[in-house]
Symmetry: C2
Subunit: 460 residues, 2 copies
């Protein structure tokens, strides 16, 4: 009896060891294939350099949707389709112009760009005194008397002391998103915001802003100013608070237009009703070519399906789906429509994994899930160790997949090395030249590995 | 009695918790100061852009030595001195020239650079047929008949499948270091080596080569060719094995000259005889400005002493020393002389930590030490966790500190994210513009933290 038990236990250990090795070999295949024969870098070259920046509802976004659909159709998948989504359409128009007038007739040009969603200035521009604040609280303290008829200049930098660059971004982004409506309430005629960039350089960074409940006739134009010029402006205000600032921009909001989420999948062989989703957003801002935000995530997500599709003898148990969302940057309509479709079809997502932190070296994931699923995932850490993947935290997932809370057991976001992200983010510095091929490919493999482990080992 | 015991244990836990917090606060100070008021980036700007590439024994290395000494003297340290070292002096001369002659009179120019230590070609250059090999073994199989009077072309790429870029480098570097002497033994007239770079681009990467025991009259010129041109050359050889290759270079070896290690320290307040050393190499190759290799390590090591020197109320128990080695790239003479000085003075090093993997995001350390010291260091992992420092492995330390084996309890090397390193390494792509300020500063703080922990908690 004892002997039998020992043999049985030994057998279990052996089978378990064998399974571990098979799984580890599977993970190794994904990294090896991505790093030696990967398609992500070529795909990103096409998306960035043949199509470029692709703001929702633009012609170039339509081209990107067409391109992604065709590339996915060329893979051995079970289905590829488009999900129609109505999106806001905002157009920058001709490039913005701004200067600081230190005394009548003496001007210094500075680098600005309109914030996404902003209205234009009158065609002759606006010129006004400046009031510099560190944030919305300081604005409220100053009150309407000191703000009326002025341009509000939000100049709170990202905190260099924070090691996690996304945390520093999160602490500063309210100036962009909420700052404009707040300034308008106090009678400001325009808003200038310091670019969200750790670095001092000459590139203004855009981003989406909201007028909140502000009626149309109360809306004021808003722009971002480069970090170097924010420093300049601040020092000039310190010398002479009466300097004036001139802005001219002719961006415009149009009626909504039709766009699409691009979706493709490999049907599950055992439980096709269980979906493992990977995704990213196909739209980008218009200043660069959107290689890091979020072209990288797009091609990595496509690569996950390609890698799993060519893995010899592997047929996923569950359905593996890629979703390329439209309109993440200025409306989140793609994610909203996808999530409501999932709810109405009562589709169950085991995992919804997003890549939207740039094509930098992957460090791990952030999970939004229940303890029991998280514990299961933590047990997979050893499979990731050879690839220097060490981060398994629980600080959110991804902007798009976050809307799937009701339908997914596990929401997750790929987490990359964040130090360089905000040099590029939402600016003309976000270009394909700034992508390192191996870092991009490592990210694709890391996503593929999580999908593969979820499919093979289950999270439940 | 039981109550007393509980109180005692509680007291111990409390004191222990308090110490942990004090230590954690100390580490936090180092990161915060480096990221908000750090000097490393400015220093590196000076070293890279005012001095530039600084091959041992060159005028610019002499300037770098003078600069480092002056900057260290401006810090509140106890002593700064120079250690005299004789170093080889090799000079590239005018830029190299090479072409592929596909048929008489039809040539295509390609990008090469002489390998460090190589002799010149005759002033009219050399032109010969090419024999392409994947390495020294294949060379030996071909034998003298097929090699005599030819130029040997080593074309084994770095393995993309390896996640650790340094491992891929280690597997390929024999072609450069040993390949020339081997080819000469079989009667080759010259050697061309594929640049050690994952990326396909147009920049040749240099590096040190050895003629071994080869007598002077048997030595042959050797150069590195860019990865793009290596691919071109290989495909042209496949089409026509009789194509000829032309090289002209006029580099030269001069008699040895005097150089210096730059050394500075804060004397220990309790055990000044115990030394905690940080260091890097001050020399670099001549093609770029040596910002990553190893300007980054130099300014990070200097920053460690600055950070510890300004930490309020902190007086190191042990002596904290910085050593900036000369001649790491082509001779290791600085490290040899420093190590022999340490041995003859019988100086005890608790830790010798080197930074020589570029100014990229720090991931951790590699240690070369006994199990018991390693276990102690592993217990410090929680202090590093907030800074995403996770790698504590045992695969070597640093080229310079490696010579201190007899005199140090712990040898260590900072380990950075390695994916981008070989894009820059030993080429004109190694420039200050390719440095990310925060990544550099994180590295300095990470080194300072290990030094601080070693000083406060001891490794014994």
């Amino acid at each position: 009896m004892r002997k039998t038990l020992i043999l049985f236990l030994f057998g279990c250990l052996f089978l378990n060891g064998q399974q571990n090795r098979t799984i580890a070999d599977g993970v190794a295949f994904l990294y090896n294939e991505s790093l030696t024969n990967g398609k992500s870098y070529d795909w990103l070259d096409q998306l960035s350099n043949q199509i470029g920046g692709r703001l929702s509802g633009s012609l170039s976004e339509a081209l990107a949707i067409e391109w992604a659909k065709e590339e996915l159709e060329a893979l051995p998948l079970d289905s590829v389709w488009l999900e129609s989504v109505m999106v806001p359409k905002w157009v920058r128009g001709t490039f913005e112009y701004a200067n600081i007038e230190s005394s009548p007739g003496n001007t210094i040009n500075v680098n600005i760009c309109a914030l996404g969603g902003s209205i234009a200035t009158p065609s002759i521009g606006i010129k006004a005194n400046i009031v510099e604040v560190k944030g919305i609280e300081e604005l409220a303290q100053l009150g309407e008397n000191k703000i009326r008829e002025k341009i509000v200049f939000y100049n709170r930098p990202m905190q260099n002391s924070l090691v996690n660059a996304f945390e520093a971004y999160g602490n500063a982004v309210d100036q962009i998103y909420n700052g404009v409506a707040e300034a308008a309430k106090f009678g400001a005629v325009g808003v200038i915001v310091r670019s969200l960039n750790f670095r001092l350089d000459d590139y203004p960074h855009t981003g989406t802003m909201s007028y909140g409940e502000l009626p149309i006739n109360k809306r004021i134009p808003a722009a971002s100013i480069s970090t170097n010029d924010a420093e300049l402006l601040s020092s000039m205000i310190a010398l002479n608070p009466n300097i004036r600032f001139f802005i001219k921009q002719n961006c415009r909001n149009y009626p909504e237009v039709k766009s699409f989420n691009v979706i493709a999948q490999i049907d599950g062989s055992e439980s096709p009703e269980n979906i493992i989703m990977v995704g990213a957003h196909l739209d980008s801002w218009d200043l660069g070519d959107g290689a890091h935000d979020d072209g990288a995530g797009v091609v990595q997500s496509m690569e996950v399906l390609r890698l799993l599709g060519i893995k010899k003898g592997y047929r996923p148990k569950n359905t593996i789906r890629v979703v390329l969302f439209t309109n993440e940057e200025n409306g989140l309509r793609g994610a909203k429509d996808y999530a409501s479709g999932v709810r109405s079809k009562n589709e169950k997502h085991l995992l919804a994994l997003e890549s939207d932190t740039g094509g930098f070296t992957p460090r791990g994931f952030s999970f939004d899930t229940a303890d029991r699923y998280f514990r299961k995932i933590l047990s997979w850490k050893p499979y990731f160790k050879p690839y220097y993947i060490h981060l398994f935290d629980r600080k959110g997932s991804g902007t798009d997949v976050n809307l799937l809370k009701e339908s997914a057991l596990v929401l997750a976001g790929l987490r990359t090395d964040s130090q360089r992200y905000f040099t590029h983010h939402h600016s003309e510095m976000d270009t394909f030249e700034e992508i390192n091929k191996r870092e991009l490919e490592m990210g694709a493999a890391t996503m593929a590995a999580l999908v593969y482990l979820t499919d093979q080992l289950g999270v439940e």
